[in-house]
């Protein structure tokens, strides 16, 4: 597999691409989470992962890289969903997909002791400054 890029599909059908066909880049913070209906990861023309979203749910995405001197990098994409529970947002699904071979590991929530599925920075794995 090559480098994965994301697409954010909105409820009205609009698609925000990480990299537009004209090369223009969009960043994670550009995603309008209120309008999000699906988040996709693509390897060129091949869709590798789709995570659907309902109204009120929030996206978690980040690239997680291990740098091993002399041996190269290993990168996964962390994709998760937080849903509203009372006045909080609770992680309801999270997955990581390996760029090297497309392998996917999924869980209901972050796993603090896991090599890859540990939470992002911030309390209880909440995104800081996003969503």
């Amino acid at each position: 597999m090559g480098t994965l890029t994301w697409k954010a599909v909105y409820r009205d059908g609009f698609v925000l691409r990480q990299i537009d066909p004209d090369g223009q880049k969009n960043v994670y913070a550009d995603i309008d989470q209120e309008r999000l209906s699906a988040f996709e990861l693509w390897d060129g023309d091949d869709c590798k992962l789709v995570m659907p979203f309902e109204a009120g749910e929030r996206l978690i995405w980040r690239r997680r890289t291990a740098v091993i001197p002399g041996q190269g990098d290993e990168t996964v994409h962390i994709v998760g969903r937080r849903r509203p529970v009372a006045e909080f947002l609770e992680v309801s699904s999270v997955a990581c997909i390996f760029e090297a071979d497309g392998r996917i590991i999924s869980a209901d929530s972050f796993v603090p002791e896991h090599e890859w599925l540990y939470p992002p920075s911030g309390p209880q794995g909440q995104e800081v400054g996003n969503g």
Binding site: V27, Y28, W61, T65, A66, I68, P69, S121
Partner: protein, 191 residues
């Protein structure tokens, strides 16, 4: 695309340090304040009693390119197994205080014999420049890593230093030690 993040080994004076990119290469911890991939001229002498040390090795991430987003959630770990050899250990600590002013302290010691032991008292201001006493690096694994404070949304030096040091006891054997893989891991939300 992803941010370009490299591992830098800092050597030289604190006023004008050399920040060698060791992302794709090995680096040796010898009894000298210098990076090398195969240097043997300033090896650590095996002591007749007590412990000798390498000069400490100060490493830090650097964001060399980024478009939007943030690099954070830094971790550092080993494979949990000491493969350096009999009588040889590896201790590690991170710098303390504000990540924006993380202190680089040039490694000192007697070149070709032993470095100064890495302790809170011997590093920087002797009190807060090292976050805590060094511990065996092999206690930090992928499932239980060393958490390294730091976050950056621009180019530049990122987070606290990870400072490590080889220890050599009287039972060590002459010659190069085995090698160890020391891994940095980070999150990146750039585009």
């Amino acid at each position: 695309m992803a941010a370009t993040v490299t591992i830098r080994r800092w050597t030289g004076s604190s006023g004008a340090p050399t920040k060698t990119n060791i992302t794709s290469i090995n680096t040796r911890a010898n009894a000298e304040d210098a990076h090398s991939t195969a240097g043997t001229s300033n090896s650590i002498l095996i002591p007749t009693s007590g412990t000798n040390y390498s000069f400490w090795v100060a490493t830090r991430l650097s964001v060399d390119a980024i478009t939007g987003g943030t690099v954070d959630n830094i971790r550092w770990y080993t494979d949990g197994t000491n493969s350096l050899g009999t009588g040889v250990g590896l201790n590690v600590a991170i710098t303390g205080g504000s990540v924006n002013t993380a202190t680089y302290a040039q490694a000192t010691g007697t070149t070709g014999t032993s470095g100064t032991q890495l302790t809170v008292a011997n590093y920087g201001n002797g009190t807060t420049d090292l976050a805590g006493a060094p511990a065996s690096a092999f206690t930090y694994t992928s499932g239980s890593p060393l958490t390294v404070p730091g976050s950056l949304s621009a180019t530049g030096d990122l987070g606290q230093f990870v400072v490590y040091q080889i220890t050599v006891g009287t039972t060590a054997v002459s010659g190069p030690t085995g090698s160890e893989t020391l891994t940095f891991k980070y999150d990146d939300t750039s585009s």
